[in-house]
Amino acid sequence: MTKALVGQSIAEQIAKHIPQAVVEANDAWVVIKPDLLLQVVQFLKATPGFDFNYLNCVTGVDYLDYLEVVYHLTSLERNHSLVLKVRCSREKPEVPSVVSVWCGADLQEREIFDLLGITFVGHPNLKRIFMWEGFKGYPLRRDYL
């Protein structure tokens, strides 16, 4: 079975290489600063001990105070997994895109952009995927309707 890595120990190792990247960590997940996300993700993918070569899914969550993007990572070689989170404000929802690291994030980031209104900076083709052009509002936000 896939081993879920403990967030705190990963956070310590991330902090050694990229200081100030970790905002918060507990045994289930690690919260990363948005502007350092790309560096952390490249570190986790390239470092031999981690080898996170597979992105299970990208999810957007609305917590009313802030918006959150959740990344489920898995290493197919080492058979372990990790949950990364990134928070952004509702006023300026911007998160760097990870399409350059994992291509599979492409459509899922577009979905989050469409339904939650989070802009993924650096995405090659960021446009609506489910709703039609001219649709007003972000239907999966809590304050919709």
Binding site: K127, R128, F130, M131, W132, E133, G134, F135, G137, P139, Y144, L145
Partner: protein
């Protein structure tokens, strides 16, 4: 009848913009359900022998050859498929196989949730079907939007977009229910009269857009 033509002279962003605009227009003009086709419930004065004989021949032919065009939009399609398979076998009613083209079909079975984005395509397919044509709305979503009636993207009932002849309730309905719906449709076909077709065809010329079909 005017058929909405797809445009192929646009590219990507223009195409998206045009699509969005068309969907907005479709929503704006589909705020109220189209009236049900219920004229067959109240038959007029009995026509003469010649008309009834012709009716009988026409209706016999149409009754036993309603070829369906399945638009399996959601999970109701999982019930529609066994209706056509050997256990329930809709071929007993002369509904031989599901046609892949609207041009060859008489009956549109809307099986599942219709979204506004899909509504345009469904309306196009309906318009492409040759007269005479019938529509069966299968399942709660096709009838009224079901669970998603107040959703941001779901059409609250396909009768907003195309006129419906028979509603088959259920979530999803069993194949038996769908077969019963077909039988009701057959009764409806039996009540048709060529006379009505001509009268309604004339009406349509006088009042365009009153009724898209007879």
């Amino acid at each position: 009848m005017e058929v909405e033509k797809p445009r192929f002279d646009l590219f990507l962003e223009e195409m998206d913009q045009a699509e969005g605009k068309e969907i907005e227009e479709l929503i704006a003009r589909s705020q109220h359900p189209l009236p049900d086709q219920v004229e067959w419930l109240e038959p007029g004065p009995r026509p003469n022998l010649l008309v009834t004989t012709i009716d009988k021949v026409f209706n016999w032919g149409r009754h036993y050859s309603t070829w369906p065009f399945g638009s399996g939009l959601a999970c109701c399609a999982m019930e529609m498929v066994p209706t056509a398979a050997s256990r329930f076998d809709q071929a007993r009613f002369g509904m031989e196989i599901f046609r892949a083209s609207p041009r060859q079909a008489d009956l549109l079975i809307v099986a599942g949730t219709l979204t506004w984005k899909m509504a345009r395509a469904l309306k196009l397919l309906y318009d492409q079907m040759a007269e005479p044509k019938w529509v069966v709305a299968m399942g709660a979503c096709a009838i009224s939007g079901g669970t998603f009636a107040h959703s941001y993207s779901v059409v609250p009932g396909v009768n907003r977009v195309i006129p419906v002849d028979v509603y088959v309730p259920g979530c999803p309905p069993r194949p038996e229910a769908l077969l019963y719906g077909f039988m009701q449709l057959h009764q409806k076909i039996e009540r048709r009269s060529v006379r009505d077709e001509f009268i309604l065809a004339d009406l349509r010329k006088i009042v365009p857009g009153r009724s898209k079909r007879n």
